[in-house]
Symmetry: D2
Subunit: 377 residues, 4 copies
Amino acid sequence: MTRLNWGMIGGGEGSQIGPAHRLGALADGNFTLAAGALDADPARGKAYAQRLGVAADRAYGDWHEMLEGERNRADRVDLVTVATPNSTHFEITRAFLEAGFHVLCEKPMTMTVEEGEEIVRVARASGRICAVNYCYSAYPMVREMRAMVRSGQVGRVRLVVTNFSHGHHGDATDADNPRVRWRYDPAMAGVSGQFADCGIHALHMASFIAGDQVEKVSADFASTISSRVLEDDAMVNFRMAGGTVGRLWTSSVAIGRQHGFDIQVFGETGGMRWASEHPNQVLYTPVGGRTQIMEKGESGLSDDAARLSRVAIAHPEGFPLAVANIYVDLAAAIRGEARDGLPGAEDGLRSMAAVYASVESARAQGAWVDARPPMLR
Amino acid sequence: MTRLNWGMIGGGEGSQIGPAHRLGALADGNFTLAAGALDADPARGKAYAQRLGVAADRAYGDWHEMLEGERNRADRVDLVTVATPNSTHFEITRAFLEAGFHVLCEKPMTMTVEEGEEIVRVARASGRICAVNYCYSAYPMVREMRAMVRSGQVGRVRLVVTNFSHGHHGDATDADNPRVRWRYDPAMAGVSGQFADCGIHALHMASFIAGDQVEKVSADFASTISSRVLEDDAMVNFRMAGGTVGRLWTSSVAIGRQHGFDIQVFGETGGMRWASEHPNQVLYTPVGGRTQIMEKGESGLSDDAARLSRVAIAHPEGFPLAVANIYVDLAAAIRGEARDGLPGAEDGLRSMAAVYASVESARAQGAWVDARPPMLR
Amino acid sequence: MTRLNWGMIGGGEGSQIGPAHRLGALADGNFTLAAGALDADPARGKAYAQRLGVAADRAYGDWHEMLEGERNRADRVDLVTVATPNSTHFEITRAFLEAGFHVLCEKPMTMTVEEGEEIVRVARASGRICAVNYCYSAYPMVREMRAMVRSGQVGRVRLVVTNFSHGHHGDATDADNPRVRWRYDPAMAGVSGQFADCGIHALHMASFIAGDQVEKVSADFASTISSRVLEDDAMVNFRMAGGTVGRLWTSSVAIGRQHGFDIQVFGETGGMRWASEHPNQVLYTPVGGRTQIMEKGESGLSDDAARLSRVAIAHPEGFPLAVANIYVDLAAAIRGEARDGLPGAEDGLRSMAAVYASVESARAQGAWVDARPPMLR
Amino acid sequence: MTRLNWGMIGGGEGSQIGPAHRLGALADGNFTLAAGALDADPARGKAYAQRLGVAADRAYGDWHEMLEGERNRADRVDLVTVATPNSTHFEITRAFLEAGFHVLCEKPMTMTVEEGEEIVRVARASGRICAVNYCYSAYPMVREMRAMVRSGQVGRVRLVVTNFSHGHHGDATDADNPRVRWRYDPAMAGVSGQFADCGIHALHMASFIAGDQVEKVSADFASTISSRVLEDDAMVNFRMAGGTVGRLWTSSVAIGRQHGFDIQVFGETGGMRWASEHPNQVLYTPVGGRTQIMEKGESGLSDDAARLSRVAIAHPEGFPLAVANIYVDLAAAIRGEARDGLPGAEDGLRSMAAVYASVESARAQGAWVDARPPMLR
């Protein structure tokens, strides 16, 4: 199978996100890094791209150059990954979609609901794929949970409880460190801090597994370090369209939690638990029965879970390969196969609507607020 | 040391709670079961009490008989445990306090805030001990967490996150089972189901460890099994007097969780985690450092934690001995020693106030409601 | 039911073992502490016994006095617990059995195989119960594993792997501390250090669960702290009569392990795992299936497991109640009920034979040595 | 940096090992798959290689063709991976080393000690890298343990205890399945079954972390499924040159264990534990202190551990990236940097010597046997 051409915007030298995307895109041999505008500093970006094997004429100084350079090539990139600062996701994603490229956008897809709706419209009009990197949903055992809900194995989902917490911003003496501070500064982070940063992964996954959408939210935000304008701890209660009750806690001051993302799904006939720290297992309990430890790679898993695992049972696979799974599905989708597990522009939009609704609810002392994007009501 | 005389009301043959209290009271040799009114059926109760070694003239048919019978004895019982149906706790506790007995009351102490205030008044006037069986707070490692907060080891407490969930009421086909149904029936359970049953243990512990009181709550209640009037799942956000943020989730439809009670306490300089399923450990993380596994029985623990452990490190102690620890402290307090870890009437009252405030908040769509009992504002 | 009279030898003030036995005997209301010779210092022992509620005339100065004093009483003690220094177990146990008392002896039952055979002979002749305190075997979930093997749920047992390790003797700078040193000194500890101290618990449990006896052993002993004459680390391979393969590791220099005792049992159709640190669960895996988490208190457990649990599922029970379970079974056996789970004199003898065989094997560079007591071959 | 050319022998379509090596080699952008002889069926192998992007003239029918084809190319492959059936590793590895290629050989490197010595001689003479894929040693936290021993953090290593067990061959009804049976057939597997298959990973790691070599072994082998000639369960005690005591258990009939590889290292001043199921953590206990949870990605780790981690703390990395780490070190070593963590030909030789010594010991009833290869004594 011919490799697809891939281009990357952002993810320059020294970034955390760049290597994760490159490993994700390259690991399975589906993509070749063919073009890039990797850095805010054009010269650094060009040099780095070339060190990564990009031809000199496709090592661009910025995304405008890249758009112009790639637009008319016969071998133009099949997919563009947008891994730039959050506030630029919208315009870059829109521009590349409009030019007919498939796009994988880092989260958050946009900074406002209106921008999100615009991306959905543009993506629909373009017929291109606009994926958003909710990579946790691409873990094989998360896919398995979704498949179990779909097949009715746990019955109607009554309740989803999810947490995404860490303590890496819990040191008040480090709060002015620029790498930390910006997340709580509305000028840079927008209307929400920790919820927009981590919480939306959890909220997306709740919908992803339950197969339903969030309708309304009631939120409690707190800035436990008082110098912060935006929240470093948030609780969001929600309801889904089908009545599912949701509870989501997210925090960046939970000292001792490293990056704890877990989700519990409770249905009429069974419960399930998954945690990102041990992503290769699901604890499944049929009502009235014993808890069973499900393992990635065991026989009898759904096609989706089986397909997205690379090594045998009990050989753990981790975060970078969850990102890689997004690229596996992108490659398949670009080649024309159906991949309904790929998070898309509507997911990105729904997240943004939930962020704004939660902010509004928190300001209104926990009042319930409609969390649906206007265009999807 | 002479044994104290102990009497029990309720906890008859076949009850779950009776054996737990008897083991708790007898395990350490502080008490002798001297009197009892153990059963709603007088004859059964008398017979059972005698089989347990109570003298025939102190095996009573009901609590009124017992009050009359014990009141004027020279060797009257030093302590009365009230383990009857919830709605009777108030009048029995009040009557025995007024008659000058020390009382250990099962939770909930009362069914209303007004009753709770009455108990506090009576207890104060009597000079007797009125303890409430928040037995989880008597685990050695819970006491250790309290001591760590007191000594400043984690700094000011910013955030407490606690869960108390199980799935034993998650089977809709079993929802009409009388042993399950009454908990969701206002005629029998009062204004709250799962929160009043399990949630108040968690709320008490949050205050117990943090050393502060809940001031206001914002609640979201759900009856995920639609035939239920009272909630089987609840989320309660709270704030403490000193500004501590709280998150409490409780559920009885969390299929796969057995009786999962855990609490995380996050302060300025450290975080801690304890779970009732592994009650002999605390995970402690100093800010910027590694998580440490603290063990019951290790050297250097607080006096309280050391005193309430019976066997060496890594020999697990469980729930029945947490109940026994309540009795250890009661014996000491009756003998005149200070035991400030004993949950008392004010704790029982605060719980009831929090229940009513949470119910009111849930009905008001999550509005924040003052959770302090009027007499303690 | 009338309480049984209980007497204790050893377990004086400040000992670890005394409180564990008293809690064990008293917790369930089966026994009254009626007599005792608690201390090597007669005066201290008498005073302490009286403080524990023993009548002055039954607070004895030593075990000879107690034997004489109790022998002819109408209300003589029904059961004597022997919790004295190891080297005295033999003569005290023999004397009380010969005088017609039931005895619970701490492990090791004797210091030699010959003494062990003598106890077996005396016990048989007396018709009295001679139990040995292999208390780990009385955890409900250990009983459940035994029941599962008996009922054929895991098929023929192919393999048992067990570890009992801690690191409390791992500090060379503390090796001369008298509380540590004696265990490695042949003059005080006999022929074996760590294997005789902890390993025999594991070896007993292997036989207990598998329902078979150890036939031969191949051992490797090491003194990792060179000043020690006796081993502080041992590996013992064994074979059971029915061909089951066994692996037993025990260590006292495993720094970081607190008191880790675990056992895995692998049969033709399933595997099981239990660990003393989490004694209320068993992991059970049917061949070709998923691992299931079994919980103390779940429905469907064997009679033995159900009978020996006091509180509901997910309320942990710990070590002191495992000791108490030994007393529960003793009370039943004294009252004439069959209790085949009680470890007895033959178990104590087999342990001693295995210790001597392992010592011989280790000296013979791992050669296989018959581990059966001569009288039981 | 220019990519290195990489060639692969074996690992054809449908194999488990092929994708693991390709992901490992390609993930970090160090290598390009330039040549391959992937399949025993020449036509299938050529076709598959081309589908993977290999040029037609470098898609070879077998390794002889590949050797001839690559030998004289200017752009010949820099590294050859040998992932063919075990019995062919020796001749292929030798041939490519002699022709001046760097080689990564799957384990076992050879089938006999003599072959192993030959490879060591050839590798030394060639000046080429001959690596062996003991990939578990390339996990960041395994490297950290090695670094901790080197820096003296746990003192002299007294004891290493390691297990590598699974239950995937525990079903007797599946024992004649050819995919299982060959491992216990001397005609195909050589002198050892489970120990040679899994045990040598554990034995290598013991030496790798302790920084010392195995000198002698005492083994107990069992065929718990009686139709098997070779062992499916083995216990190997060992001693290292510096006196370290070793215990290694490996099994393929441990039903319920998935692929459980763990290692505990106990030194004079601390203990450590790592398990392949949770490879991103190490439990470290300083003598007299609390157990600490070390996390991949935490600050202050050794250069080696830091270098071999790709994503931030608490983002798990798994088995495929441990393989990739071997390729990272190979790329560096080929480029002239020192990489002393790479397992080499001497490691492969030592494993084979330990296998033969263990077989001899097991046949001699556990007698201690020198496990050093003659040429390295």
